[in-house]
């Protein structure tokens, strides 16, 4: 079987990919115009070329285009894929691989593996792979994926603990994999051998295709490439700490990457989950609260009262009201940055939290007035009874607990609904839902108007 698409087009960290980088040698010349690159771009089948700015002229440009593609695709409602068609043209492979390495190095040197830039690169690599695979025939795709997977996995029998990193970062979920005696089952024959005799009234082959088949193999392959990308960025970062001067081209690229990300936030609003419009602070809408928050708002009848109000509700309410974009912007703020006189805290946020505390049985603060200090501390105002500007910063403003944490520390709160499937933090639930709720209530009031007529 002939594979048309190079392995490196999907996995730039493969041996093929490394070879390409080695051939290029030093990174000189990554800034200069490259005719070969430009002609591949302009000859891509559905490439938009009406505007020069759509066409990358150098490796450096191409690296930025890769990031821009992802940021726009995620945030821009008017995203036009024809401007980026070249990214899916297999002919660009050689250039693409080098752009990928440039990005990893720039980000590794300047921001490290835990940065937003790193996260964006890793995610964008995953998305690129998905989209590139999507353009192949089923056969081609299967052969390519199997090939890459074989080179990434050392043996046919893989223990699930081999994927510790992927599971830890939730790139893969344990319950999505088929496990048997500690091994992850990917291979069809292996599957049939182990499970055929147990399956009744259904075709084992078909069950394999549905439950594992190409889908899980691709998932595992993509997530492994993503994880390896992250590891590579980490390596670069560690190495650059030991070495002398980082290459100025890399530093310049790193700055430009941030610019691209910033621009996409400013123009389109980052993290709005594709609904457009940025997530801005505005009056709270309890209709958009997730099930867990609704539950606490009704008051807790049993255990976990303190944690529910102080650790869980307080950060949620304060961020939802004052800084709902915290996770997408990823900038640390203090409350006074957004509520300089603390008027919103006093008039809107504290009353809500105190209301919920009162509805507990027994009411929280009557019982344990000293807990007000803890509440205050979670808002960033230190260990005092009330929030005052002069104490701000003595503690940090706690960010809302993730769903995962809620499930562990306050399992009785989490009653997931449909929206919960798409999010990892109750605050993201709120940001998503608020948009839907607004639309619904508009429709409702329009209906009301109609009735009046």
């Amino acid at each position: 079987m002939i594979i048309m698409v190079s392995v490196a087009f999907i996995n730039p960290l493969s041996d093929e990919g490394k070879m390409i980088v080695r051939e290029l040698g030093e990174f000189d010349g990554v800034l200069s115009e490259n005719d070969d690159l430009m002609s591949i771009v302009t000859e891509s089948r559905s490439q938009e070329i009406s505007d020069d700015s759509f066409i990358p002229r150098s490796y450096f440009d191409l690296a930025l285009k890769r990031i821009e593609w992802y940021a726009k695709k995620k945030n821009d409602r008017n995203f036009d894929h024809k401007q980026y068609d070249f990214l899916f043209n297999p002919d660009i492979n050689k250039f693409d691989v080098i752009a990928f390495f440039l990005l990893c190095q720039a980000i590794g040197v300047k921001y490290g593996p835990n940065s937003r830039e790193s996260r964006v690169l890793v995610e964008s690599q995953g998305k690129l792979i998905e989209n590139r695979l999507g353009k192949l025939s089923k056969i081609e795709r299967n052969v390519l994926v199997t090939n890459i997977l074989n080179s990434l996995l050392s043996s046919a029998h893989i223990k699930w603990t081999f994927f510790e990193d992927l599971i830890s970062s939730k790139k893969l979920k344990l319950h999505e994999l088929i496990l048997d005696s500690g091994e992850i089952i990917l291979d069809k024959d292996d599957f049939l051998e182990r499970f055929s005799h147990k399956i009744q009234g259904r075709k084992p082959e078909k069950m394999y295709e549905a439950l594992i088949g190409d889908r899980i193999k691709e998932l595992v392959m993509i997530k492994m490439v993503m994880q390896n990308t992250e590891n590579y960025i980490l390596q670069v970062g560690e190495r650059s700490n030991r070495e002398i001067e980082p290459n100025p081209i890399l530093l310049e690229l790193a700055d430009k990457i941030s610019d691209v990300l910033l621009a996409s936030v400013q123009t389109f609003g980052q993290g709005s989950g594709g609904y457009g419009g940025s997530v801005k602070a505005s009056a709270l809408n309890p209709k958009a609260f997730p099930p867990c928050v609704k539950k606490v708002m009704e008051g807790m009848k049993s255990g976990g009262r303190n944690d529910a109000i102080i650790m869980f509700l307080t950060p949620f309410i304060s961020y939802a009201r004052l800084y709902p974009a915290v996770f997408s912007e990823n900038i640390t703020k203090q409350i006074s940055d957004v509520d300089p006189t603390l008027a919103i805290i006093q008039n809107e946020i504290l009353p809500l939290i105190f209301g919920a505390a009162e509805r507990c049985s027994p009411p929280l603060f009557e019982d344990q007035p000293q807990d007000k200090v803890n509440l205050n501390a979670k808002l960033g105002f230190g260990m005092h009874q009330n929030p005052e500007l002069k104490n701000e910063g003595e503690t940090t403003w706690y960010t809302p607990m993730s769903c995962e944490k809620v499930k562990i520390h306050l399992p009785s709160l989490c009653k997931p609904d449909e929206t919960c499937k798409k999010i990892g933090n109750p605050l993201s639930y709120y940001n998503r839902k608020i948009w839907v709720v607004k639309k619904e209530s508009k429709a409702e009031s329009a209906a009301e108007e109609d009735k009046k007529d």
């Binding site: 830890s168 496990l179 500690g182 078909k206 295709e209 549905a210 439950l211 562990i408 009785s412």
Partner: protein, 325 residues
Amino acid sequence: MVKIEYLTPASPEERKRYYREEWNIKQVPEYIIHSIQEREFGFDHVGRGPNDRYKVFRTPDLLKRFLKVRTPFAAYCSVAFYDKPRRRDRWTKAELVFDVDAKDIPVRTCECEGVCEICLNEAREIVLGIIDTLKADLGLKNIHVVYSGRGYHIRVLDNDVMSVNSDVRSQIVKYLVGADVPENEYSLDFEKVSYEHFVIPFGYPNVFTKRVKYAILHLTENSELDEVNKKLLKDVLKHRQLIELDNWGMFKNKIGPQRYRKVIKGIASINMSLVDAKVSIDLKRILRLPSSLHSMVSMKCTEVKNIETFDPFDDAVPKFVYERK
């Protein structure tokens, strides 16, 4: 047979008798003894929680002397291994533990306030289910069970999992207890197929099926499941012998597919409380030392040799209890 009213606190005199006459260092499991220098020990001398912590014993003999002399209210030992346990410094690894407390089981058939024979036995059944999954799915082998005095600790010492972090541990917990409803729609080339969890006899769907079965068979009229009203609960109880016979399809038909979904969603959500997940994700937790006395209930925290036949009221009652008037 000892009766439940014996579950009363032990007096200081009884504690002394226990540690001086009955307790033996050989009752401390081998997996603790041979790593004794790497673990942190903690003690509660007065009954207000372990506040004498960061203790280290270089040899089993020193631990023995300490217990015989101090006869503590409670004794604990870390699941974590450290290079410098005295400062809880240089953590190297930790046992993977699951804490099944009879008092906190989300569905139990007894209505007792604390702990009784019935719920202790139900805790045991849950432990059996978890161990089965640890072995069959996760391929773990070095598994120990300890009766904690009020329930069970499952302690896993396979090297593969001792180094994993809290995030991985939390996913393991969710897998074992069946806290997520499995997908039931799958796409094949040009069609969608749907497989309910109960037609898939392997992997997570199979684990989930077992946990749901357990829960349904242990529901009572007073059980509470989210979005499951009294009427629906009644219908579930009425038809549950179908589940006992593994006639899931028929059960689902009787209940109705929409309502069936509600039931299993409700069960998935309470399943998270089958174990205390906080214990499993804590990499530095201290647990009751097997062989020590649980003074609150006058029972021994005991290594369980055979969980199939273990009976706490036979195997975990100290002698002094029999001599009480």
